[in-house]
């Protein structure tokens, strides 16, 4: 079990979250080329080291979080709210 420090809810067990995929993928425009879409949908890096991934706090605030996690040690280096507007609001409220 890993524990994720949700910026909105606090430190919680990963059982409250669902993994929602690779956060390093940049999805192309809807009318981009087939190659661009193929890369975005099917090709994934599998780094031995730091990686960014999305986790959604489904049994909490419901926010998608961008988590920086080490793929070998499972250490988590940073957690931020994926939506920049939401992140700003929460950061301001914390001040």
């Amino acid at each position: 079990m890993i524990r994720i420090n949700c910026p909105f809810c606090g430190l919680r067990d990963h059982t409250e979250f669902s993994y929602e995929g690779d956060a390093t993928v940049e999805y192309p425009a809807l009318d981009a080329s087939e190659d661009a879409w193929f890369d975005a949908v099917f090709l994934r890096e599998n780094p031995r080291g730091w990686h960014r991934e999305y986790w959604r706090h489904g049994f909490g605030c419901g926010l998608f979080l961008e988590v920086e996690r080490h793929m070998v040690t499972h250490e988590i280096r940073s957690v931020k709210i994926a939506h920049p507007g939401m992140a700003k609001v929460v950061a301001e409220a914390d001040e």
Partner: protein, 999 residues
């Protein structure tokens, strides 16, 4: 008879006798006894039988490492198999059973396997798959059946578990695992600094190795120190959990523990049998101790051969003498204390020290106590198949020894060194390093983990060193948690008088001895060499080939010996050979405890629609659909499912019916960019949907396949009410949330799941308008006011005369003229009653899922059976819903060559050629007389259509209608040997032009 109860001593309560049974015979023990100590006190020697050869197994240890005395406890449904007798407390009424033996462990006919031992070497099962060269596997397979009968361990009960379990969650500053000298001193140091501490102990008594020492040692870790420390810890609020095993160490300071709550209670009451405790600790100190290990010599598996320290534990902790004459074989200093304990209890004791130069002061103290200390001598072979009678001993030259003397004895204690218990830190993938001096794997560095090892788990094998190690680990934890710098305490050292001399196996010249390293699984030293000869060079492979360390004790005693022998066989060193990886659980864990309360409906909740009671009053039958209990059919007198559904479907087509559609997923999509958002997520255009209209939408996944379908109602300029299929309510919500939060954060759209907030009924049939006309004082249901796909909000007048808020859309799934009427969940019962009265008045009926499904198949409408994740819009005949003008999710990849191939299986209707013939969903479709290979496609849905008077089906056929329309193919169900000729037709069996729903 061998062991006996000593007249005094031990940490048992002699005033409280406990009666239990051993294979139906009544025995007495004392409170504080384990099953092993109580049986030993009664002179029982054979407690178990080994896995393969059924050799007699006695008590080999006094703890979790036990590899011989493995038993079953309790009876019937509460029976637990493969329990270590050395761990189980005796309780009044406890039933203990020998296992893997017939008729009993004392007299076991299965031991005939022993005679065939030379066939059953390592990799026996593996080899049976290859068979005898040139003759195939048949004979081996027959042979295997016989042995399978005889091999095995205890049998689990096949009845449902009558006990309950629970999961509890905890937090603390520091979790200390193990309550020996190191754990206690660490906990005391932490508590004195105000730390929130949990101290977990797997035994039923706190104290660890202190409990095995002499009670009047007077040393720094005496009984008096133990008592005052426990008192002090309790006063400072330290949570001391006995009978609680830390079975797994996980990420970020999470530890899983199992507490055995009631097994020691005569009257457990309502308490759970076991409790799974999940602790989140900021720091963890593993003071898990060390396990003594044996070395291998001839027939070292005989009852009476045990670990030297365990023999002493029976004397000092349980007041039981393991025998009358003992021989202790050691290669290190620790065995001297064990021998002293036995000698002081009046047991005639001989000590064989493999080392030529013995520790001088220890040896002289031992001799003063009457122990016969023999330097440079080792055990060679134990004598006595049902229990040790004597021991052949010889002079050790560093590898071999020739038996030169026979000592009569009934107990043999062995000490080949100590193995720190590093299982928990190993769970985190941390590899230990070999320490030559201690002849043990030690973890020096735990890296980023908030974990430290202390005491003998860290290689500090003497009590003084363990106490200091505990304090040091505590100081480090305090520093990590508070930042307070304290004087750094020195690393403690194990100050043995003479260095340990590694001994793994005693060879005798010119004679092959049967030397065991895994007594439970019958793995011998020869098996390890055989594995090496057969090419197994990795220690992980050797383990699996020989099954060394794969029994219920997981090789806690013998693994290191096996590794050393593997290294020896390969001509390499132990560090080069490495160790196997430990994985959770440390000791076996009940599945029930891991599940806790999460069973039945607490694991799998039941969802009812808000109209549940109204359905039940009508005698509705329900069907499971995911978590939902959906209304299935409403039987009238004597009707079964088929007849009721047929009647309901006919009634809808003839007059009118109503069906609960509350299970549909419902999502409010709101905001200035809502229109643009919908236009991107649906494959068909939504930009020009006017307010007051609904539209059927098809949603694709990024990869171009169909994801979901449903209708979306435009309530205002910026408010949409989206419905999804029942099954995809959650996934669609997640998909939309993902898009808005990660991919298109600039879009000003808010989505809210309202699936549980609204319930709905569909009123369908030629008389649907008659039912609704006048039902809502503020809604005009006429064709002009509400054409097909029209949406209105207003009120429904219910029986009480009140008006309840509703929104309604003219939509049809059945193919009839129909409206979906939605109301907030709390109003649903009132809506149901109001509309049912009107439906009945028009001669209609309530109908269920079965009739609805039948009608949608007649119309060729798709559901999850067709939208199975492998179909494109064109495959299901909805290619025209894929816009060519706008970009949308899935459009690009839906254009991949394989997704637009002309020979893709596409949706068709299927009619049996012989009227009345039946076929099944899931059947494979083949051209006539060519039923081989993968076929043309499959049948996805079927229905017994009242309109067509025949079974009808939907399915997918390569090439689809253009290639096959009107042709006969075959629906094959090879499992049941059924074959039905079917004709390929349009999937729109009924009212293909849709005149009825538009009318």
């Amino acid at each position: 008879m061998s062991g006996y109860r000593l007249p005094r001593g031990g940490r048992i309560d002699r005033s409280r006798a406990v009666s239990f049974t051993w294979d139906d015979t009544r025995y007495m023990g004392f409170t504080g006894d384990t099953v092993a100590s109580a049986l030993m006190a009664r002179g029982e020697r054979i407690i178990g039988r080994s896995f393969k050869y059924h050799r007699a197994r006695g008590i080999m240890s006094a703890g979790v490492e036990e590899s011989g005395a493995v038993v079953s406890l309790w009876s019937d449904a509460r029976r637990v198999a493969n329990v270590k007798a050395t761990q189980a407390e005796i309780v009044p009424g406890l039933a203990v059973w020998g296992q893997n033996a017939w008729p009993s462990v004392r007299m076991d006919l299965g031991s005939i396997n022993n005679l065939f031992g030379r066939f059953f070497g390592a990799g026996f099962y593996y080899k049976t798959f290859f068979g005898i060269s040139g003759r195939g596997t048949w004979e081996w397979m027959q042979f295997e059946k016989l042995i399978r009968q005889a091999a095995g361990m205890g049998r689990a009960s096949d009845k449902p578990d009558p006990d309950h379990y629970e999961i509890m969650h905890d937090h603390c500053d520091v979790l200390v695992v193990g309550s020996g000298p190191a754990g206690l001193s660490a906990a005391a140091a932490l508590a004195s600094q105000g730390m929130d501490v949990i101290l977990a102990e797997q035994d039923f008594a706190v104290g660890g190795s202190i409990l095995s020492g002499g009670s009047d040692d007077g040393g720094s870790a005496s009984d008096a120190w133990l008592a005052s420390t426990v008192e002090d810890l309790t006063a400072k609020g330290v949570r001391i959990w006995s009978r609680t095993t830390a079975f797994g160490l996980y990420d970020h300071g999470v530890v899983g523990l199992i507490e055995r709550v009631t097994d020691h209670l005569e009257h457990p009451g309502d308490l759970p049998r076991e409790r799974c405790r999940i602790v989140r600790a900021r720091r963890i100190i593993l003071a898990t101790g060390a396990v003594e290990r044996p070395f291998a010599f001839g027939d070292n598996d005989r009852p009476g051969v045990m670990l030297a320290s365990s023999a002493a534990t029976y004397v000092s902790r349980f007041g039981v003498a393991p025998g009358k004459r003992a021989v202790i074989g050691v290669n290190n200093d620790s065995g001297y204390a064990s021998a002293m304990t036995l000698a002081q209890a009046g047991i005639e004791t001989t000590l064989l020290d493999a080392r030529a130069s013995v520790p001088r002061s220890l040896a002289s103290t031992a001799r003063e106590a009457g122990i016969d200390v023999r330097a440079g001598m080792v055990p060679v072979q134990a004598i006595g198949s049902r229990g040790v009678r004597a021991l052949d001993i010889g002079r050790y030259d560093g590898e071999r020894a020739l038996a030169e003397d026979r000592l009569p004895c009934d107990v043999i204690g062995v000490s080949g060194g100590w193995t720190p218990v590093m299982h928990l830190i190993s769970h985190k993938g941390i590899k230990p390093a070999w320490n030559e001096e201690l002849s043990a794997f030690i973890v020096e560095d735990t890296g980023i983990e908030p974990v430290a090892l202390a005491g003998s788990a860290a290689g500090h094998f003497t009590t003084e060193a363990a106490l200091k190690g505990g304090e040091r680990a505590a100081a480090e934890a305090i520093k990590a948690l508070t930042g307070k710098r304290r004087t750094k305490l020195p690393e403690p050292v194990t100050d043995w008088e003479a260095p340990l001399q590694p001994v793994w196996e005693i060879h005798e010249p010119d004679r092959k001895l049967k030397c065991f390293i895994d007594p439970q699984h019958d793995v011998t030293t020869e098996d390890v060499r055989l594995a090496h000869r057969e090419g197994y060079v990795s220690v992980e492979h050797m383990k699996r080939y020989t099954t060394l360390g794969m029994a219920t004790d997981q090789g806690k005693m013998g693994n290191v010996v096996g590794l050393a022998l593997m290294a020896e066989a390969a001509g390499s060193t132990i560090p080069e050979t490495g160790t196997t990886t430990f994985r959770p659980p440390y000791t076996p864990v009940s599945i029930g405890a891991l599940a806790g309360d999460e069973r039945g409906t607490l694991w799998r909740p039941t969802r009812h629609t808000p109209m549940r009671l109204e359905h039940e009053q009508l005698g509705c039958k329900f069907v499971d659909a995911g978590f939902w209990r959906r209304s299935w059919y409403y039987p009238e007198k004597g009707e079964n499912l088929a007849r009721a559904a047929k009647r309901e479907a006919k009634a809808v087509r003839a007059s009118v019916g109503m069906v609960d559609v509350s299970t549909l997923g419902k999502i409010m999509v709101q905001g200035p960019d809502a229109t643009e958002f919908l236009n991107r997520v649906y494959s068909n255009p939504f930009a020009k949907l006017p307010v007051g209209k609904a539209r059927y939408g098809l949603m694709l996944r990024d990869d171009g396949f169909v994801f979901d379908d449903g209708t979306t109602w435009r309530l205002t300029e910026t408010d949409y009410f989206m419905t999804t299929t029942t099954a995809n309510a959650g996934p669609v919500m997640l998909h939309l949330a993902n898009l808005l939060q990660t991919r298109w954060p600039e879009m000003r759209v808010h989505i809210t799941s309202v699936s549980d907030h609204w319930g709905g009924l569909a009123v369908a049939g030629p008389k649907a308008r008659e039912v609704l006309d006048g039902a809502c004082p503020d809604i005009d249901f006429s064709d002009d006011a509400m054409p097909f796909m029209g949406v209105r909000q207003g009120h429904l007048r219910v029986e009480s005369g009140q008006d309840i808020p509703v929104m309604t859309a003219r939509l049809s799934f059945s193919g009839e003229q129909a409206w979906e009427v939605m109301t907030p969940a709390d109003y649903c019962p009132a809506m149901f009653r109001a509309l049912l009265t009107r439906v009945r008045a028009a001669g209609g009926v309530p109908y269920g899922l079965e009739a609805m499904d039948c009608m949608r198949v007649e119309k060729g409408h798709v559901t999850g059976r067709e939208l199975d994740g492998r179909t494109t819009a064109a495959d299901i005949g909805l290619g025209m819903m894929a816009s060519k003008k706008k970009p949308y999710i899935g459009r690009v990849l839906a254009g991949r060559p394989d997704l637009v191939r002309e020979d893709r299986p596409t949706l068709v209707g299927l009619l049996p050629v012989e009227k009345g013939a039946r076929f099944k969903a899931g059947a494979i479709l083949f051209p006539q007389n060519e039923s081989k290979g993968h076929g043309l496609g499959h049948v996805s849905s079927i229905a017994d259509s009242p309109e067509l008077g025949s079974w009808v089906g939907l399915g997918f056929v390569t090439g689809g209608l253009p290639k096959w329309e009107g042709k006969e193919i075959s629906a094959e169900n090879p499992i049941d040997g059924e074959s039905t000729r079917v004709r390929v037709v349009s999937p729109h069996f009924f009212d293909p032009k849709g005149e009825r729903m538009h009318g």
